[in-house]
Amino acid sequence: MTIADASLDTGAEPAAASAGRPRSLWRRAKPVVLALIVPLLLLAFWQVATTERWTLLIPTPYAVAEYMVDFAVGGIYDDAYSGTLLTHLLASMSRVYGGFALAALFALPIGIMVGRMPTARMLLDPFLQVMRPIPVTAWLPLSMILFGLGAKSAFALVCLGAFYPILLNTIFGVRSVDPKLFEAASMLGCRGNAQFYKVVLPAATPAIFTGLRLGLGLAWFVIVVGEMTGVPQGLGAVIMDGRTLSRTELVICGMIVIGVAGYLSDRVVVLIGNRLLRWSPNHHG
């Protein structure tokens, strides 16, 4: 007894060998080229708008680039912000990842309980549903009253921002396990609590992972608001200082650093996810 219908779907890789070299080169370069078009157009528009003096309020791309170098390593302007990028970045990162980790620590077990235990759902679900629509920014004053001005408040807001996406996706993940899989597990001799580890958790990992990814993205989103509460260091603080000092180039530098840091942080998560969720057909980011 052998099989002949051995058609493994190993992903589409047609004609890569038969096509000429230039075409395969283009195929590889195409995503990068396409991805660069919009940013480059925006940059060109920015350049034209500033050199043609359509606006005098925004510095030129070159001025921002120069300031970015100074912000990163110093040696050009040598003001209070020269060479401080790393300090601010690390301060923000510690709050982003710290707040995110704390959020995950609460959201995962609560999500699993609400998703799997009817009593926990009845106890917590209505409350969470009412709390959820309140935006993180609305918590800012209360957070300042409770935690004071400073890092603790920023930390709390980041944690709150990351909490809901992790919670909701965890609930969804553990609730939407295919019931057939429980039957399959029980007829194979895996019953009761063992099913939680052998069926529920692995089946929920894609959804949990999506929640973690969204949560981390939101943590980077909230950090600026969080650091508006008067912390001395952090990218949000830099942006707020830039605004009060009318240093627009500083504001833009802070924005770019947050964008890049958030993007890289997301890529790392996606890479981990692709490795962890190889088995999932619709999980390749």
Binding site: L8, G189, S280, P281
Partner: protein, 259 residues
């Protein structure tokens, strides 16, 4: 020799009623059936005739509303590795490789790891998937997935294999090949198989016994022993004669309703 005295499965006047909101559904009414070890029994009937319900009661997924379902004389109270189920939509664990899906049962029964490996190797070979041991279910064709599902049940020492329209979602060629393979495994391992299908041909091709069921309420219409020699030729006149008789039994209930 022991088969008449000691049936592996006994269904005694089993009824099953489902309550769906304010509707009462009689899925199965007063069904009795006795299956001997080593038999290959097909349950056929239109949808709603209770064939899947009867199979799920044998598996232990459902409890009868009245009557008794017994295996080796003991009531079937819950799913058990001795009764393996093969589902139409495979129900493989998508996060486990072919190898780990087959190892799921042996590991759940806490066999030693060397024993698990040996068992898995044996059954992965039996269903011809050695080359795909490390593939994930989403990378496999429907026929290959169903082979994994069969291997997973056999690797768990099931005495009774319950199959719920296992080849229903497959294309005709793959279905025929899997039917042949299943018969080969059945003849070699002396398993007892209860196989649900809505195809008369499939039932006649596979079974020693064809149990015809009719809907509304679901009940057993007739129990037909088949002694056609194997391998069976679907084009032979004998095969067609049986097909005609069973087809008529299958549709008898429509005629009764019309009259």
């Amino acid at each position: 020799m022991a088969d008449t005295a000691d049936p592996i499965v006994e269904i005694k006047r089993v009824s099953k009623v489902f309550q769906l909101q304010d509707q009462t559904i009689h899925a199965l009414s007063d069904a009795s059936l006795s299956i001997a070890k080593g038999e290959f029994v097909c349950l056929i009937g239109a949808s709603g005739c209770g064939k899947s319900t009867l199979l799920r009661i044998m598996a232990g997924f459902e409890q009868p509303s009245s009557g008794e379902a017994l295996m080796w004389g003991k009531p079937i109270a819950e799913p058990d590795p001795s009764r393996g189920m093969v589902f139409q939509d495979y129900a493989l664990f998508p996060w486990l490789s072919v190898r780990d899906n087959i190892a799921f049962g042996p590991i759940a029964r806490s066999l030693a790891s060397s024993q698990v490996k040996e068992t898995v190797d044996t059954f992965i070979e039996l269903v011809g998937l050695a080359k795909f041991a490390n593939a994930y279910p989403h990378q496999l064709s429907g026929g290959m997935k169903q082979r994994v599902a069969i291997a997973r049940v056999l690797a768990n020492d099931a005495e009774l294999v319950l199959m719920d329209e296992p080849f229903g979602a497959l294309d005709a060629m793959t279905r025929e090949r899997l039917q042949d393979e299943l018969l080969e495994i059945w003849q070699r391992t002396k398993l007892t198989v209860v196989f649900v299908t809505h195809s008369v041909e499939e039932a006649i091709f596979l079974a020693n016994r064809v149990v015809v069921m009719t809907p509304g309420p679901g009940r057993i219409e007739s129990d037909n022993a088949l002694d056609l020699p194997r391998p069976r030729d679907v084009a032979s006149p004998e095969f067609n004669a049986i097909r005609r008789v069973l087809g008529a039994k299958l549709h008898s209930h429509h005629q009764k309703k019309a009259a």
